[in-house]
Symmetry: C2
Subunit: 313 residues, 2 copies
């Protein structure tokens, strides 16, 4: 039904295999002309202005020929998004073998094929809406498996790493700095950002990282997950699903997010800006090796544009 | 199946009928102890701190006894949320007569009853995910009716109103200022904010305003809708569904949001901060009656906390 188009304008990165240890192995490409579009309008003085807006495209996901969902995405990594979505919804198990991922840019479809018969139909029936965007969903057995997951107790977060990470992430070129109105998620190890994904939907950015980790066999146990978004129940559930023991955000907390993080033993750090942060769960993984008085506050040039211009979604 | 609990702790506001013309007829109540919860944690120096986080609760919505959806909400206006959700999903038509709304706080359910047989079952089959949170949905015929809606061409937005509105909204007490990680939407008329709703999910805040407008027969044609969130396709679709001709946000745009606003003839204003703003659709409704050089920039005390602390979701 869907043809393979390896030569499509947004190729799947199957053959690419950067070391997961390389700093910014994947990062946003704000110069990619497909991702933003100039739009004309007027400003507060009635003067004509041109600005950049982020483009979103539909992508319909099939698992073994069965239609699962249509997502709106910036469309940069359809393969990672497809696999990550299925993993984070428990429709694909970490030990499943993906035999093919077929992306068709014209049809706006991506098909994931596995050798195991998948049993997602029951899952589609049991769904619960989660917080954050009123209509996010997790399927029934995600919550069941959530309760069984044990996160690494050996993992540590040094505050010196945290300060280095937020500085590197905030100063990296991004679609956010170009067009705003977008979310970012970064997979990190120690003081190094490894994979930085952006998308209009926050959950797409997370799912793309999950897909990347699966495709490249990245060990989650010593990783740190950074997000620009709020620490909602959904964000906590997805981080735990990915077996990453530490979640950091520059944004705030919801009560249910905190509750779930404590249940799962996830280290939950929010409002991480400049030298300040707040830890509301899993504090025992934090090593205070930086003098917070010496960590520079975010200066206005390096401050994430979101802080000034764009409280994303 | 679900009993009426008129004496519940979160009563439905059916009998209340404030004039929709009163400034801040409804506004956030950050002192309501049910809406936030103190949580203990540690700060960047390892010192114990206590902070406030927003509480979210599940609310399962039934229409005439049929289960529609479970939402996560702060739970302050279950009746408005229920009715607004159904209206914005086209499951309830503006001319439908709602015969009862039954909220049960213990069961976490709200039941909306109508005298017309509702035909939402087909709608549940035709759904399209929209932008913003990857898993937002609009049902099939919402897009069909979207194309038929004609917004008021007589409506105007004076820039002097816009500056007054953003100043009043940013300085009003809110859950955002208390606990962060929350979205706000405000129904306005001329330079006056009328109904200010907040919720963890941005769409809940919009739906609560739609429910309020339906219950109080508020005319949408001369109104202005203000949101803290991004101007995504979903936000544009909902504003048009509500027949409000002008949408203003302090956040940025997505390409599809701009496209839909232009199709519908909606006035779309984003990045409205201090004296600055950008209009990308429906510019003809704007009347430039304020000198933007005299409108004060947001000072740090009045600047929405989001700008400093919390790029919500």
């Amino acid at each position: 039904m869907v043809e393979r188009k390896a030569q499509g304008r947004v190729p799947c990165r199957e053959s690419e295999d950067p070391s997961p240890m390389e700093e910014f192995a994947l990062r946003p490409n704000p110069d990619d002309p497909r991702l933003t579009r100039p739009v004309a309008g007027i400003d507060q003085d009635g003067r004509p202005v041109e600005t950049s807006v982020t483009v979103e495209r539909p992508l319909t996901l099939f698992l073994n020929g069965r239609e699962i969902v249509t997502m709106m995405t910036i469309g940069d990594y359809p393969e990672y998004l497809a696999i990550g979505y299925l993993l984070n919804q428990n429709m694909l198990r970490p030990d499943d073998r993906v035999t093919a991922v077929e992306y068709d840019e014209d049809l706006e479809t991506v098909v994931v094929r596995t050798d195991r018969e998948t049993d997602f139909e029951d899952k589609l029936r049991k769904k619960t809406l989660t917080s954050g965007c009123a209509q996010g969903t997790v399927f029934g057995d995600v919550m069941e498996s959530f309760e069984r997951i044990r996160l690494s107790s050996a993992a540590r977060l040094h505050t010196s790493w945290l300060y280095a990470l937020t500085r590197k992430i905030n100063t990296a070129p991004s679609l956010y700095l170009t067009a705003g109105a977008i979310h970012g998620c970064v997979l990190c190890e120690r003081d190094r950002p490894l994979v930085y994904m952006e998308d209009v939907g926050r959950h797409n950015a997370v799912d793309k990282i999950a897909g990347y980790m699966y495709r490249h066999g990245v060990d989650p146990e010593d990783k740190i997950f950074y997000t620009t978004g709020r620490l909602t129940s959904e964000m906590v559930i997805k981080t735990v699903q990915m077996r990453i023991p530490i979640l950091v955000s520059r944004s705030g907390f919801t009560a249910w997010g905190v509750e779930l993080a404590r249940q799962a033993g996830l280290t939950l750090i929010g409002r991480a800006r400049g030298r300040r942060f707040l830890a509301l769960a899993g504090e025992e993984r934090i090593v205070f090796d930086a003098d917070p008085r010496t960590a520079a506050d975010e200066d206005s040039r390096h401050r994430r544009k979101g802080a000034e211009e764009d409280a994303a979604e």
